[in-house]
């Protein structure tokens, strides 16, 4: 019995199903954004690290009247031009729900929290809900689109 349980857990660990792989991938992206926010390295290096998470034709729609970004190059240009902020920012994911649309695509809804400590006594905190489209390319799950959902309209 113990062998069966160990085998099952081992299988789940080394060969996870797509849902946890997608969530893990998005968590890695959030970690990357968190590190990048505090990383004093040049913007181009930061942009190159993050490019690996997106498809070439990714669409980012931040909502709130802000124009959508089309394409990985445009996204990386924006990311590379951002200056590291004073203090630190932590990006975290929560409440991710993954729905596999096809074998190679999935829809994810999740909440992203942003905690920024700019050296003031009060850390600023923000939470946003997003719909994310993931696609599998060469066995890697990539972000194909991100759309902000207006919880309060």
């Amino acid at each position: 019995m113990a062998l069966v349980v160990a085998g099952f857990l081992g299988w789940k660990h080394f060969f996870p199903s797509d849902e946890p792989r997608i969530v893990r991938r998005l968590e890695q992206l959030a970690d990357e954004v968190t590190r990048s926010a505090a990383d004093p390295s040049v913007g181009l290096a930061r942009a190159a690290r993050m490019a690996a998470y997106f498809t070439t034709d990714v669409v980012i729609d931040p909502g709130g009247g802000v124009p959508a970004l089309h394409g990985r190059e445009a996204l990386m240009a924006v990311a590379g031009s951002l200056q590291p902020r004073t203090g630190s920012m932590r990006v975290a994911l929560g409440d991710a729900t993954v729905t596999l649309a096809t074998e190679d695509s999935a829809d994810v809804t999740l909440t992203v929290t942003f905690t920024r400590n700019a050296g003031t006594p009060e850390a600023s905190f923000d939470a946003r809900e997003f719909a994310v489209r993931m696609v599998r390319q060469q066995d890697a799950w990539l972000v194909a689109s991100v759309t902000s959902i207006d919880t309060l309209r």
Partner: protein, 163 residues
Amino acid sequence: MARVGRLLVGSNPRRTFVRVVILIAASAITFGWILLPIRAEGISMLPTYESGTLHFVNRLSYIAASPARGDVIAIRLAGDRVYYVKRVVALPGERVQIVDGTIHVNDVPLSEPYVKNRRPWNVDEVALTYQEYFVVGDNRGMNAADHDFGRAQRSRIVGRVVF
């Protein structure tokens, strides 16, 4: 040692065990399903709720009743871990606008004693549908652009923040 053991489990260990199980089950039901513990983060509800303080959301508040004006409510985002905590200022079917920091509901200025600081926010009139509530945080001393407020769907309201 035996006295310590007796103090811990009582004279009737079976009864003590049953009590512990009931206590654990009651706590799990209460804090998992009825009174949801939440920790406030951020400054949008100042001065009513300080960042970092612990509060509870009563998930049964709106089973038999609807949210009322002045209620502080929890609003669901993508799931059950993160909520917006806001105050209801306008109800379904009402018209609401903000003029120089004062909320007007159906053209009548709203008295809000819980608001201590006020910046001159201006928001065009919004007509709420019968499934929408207009919610705002108590901290009006911050920039409107940095403050999440607006129409919340009834289906997203989880419950009332009770304390």
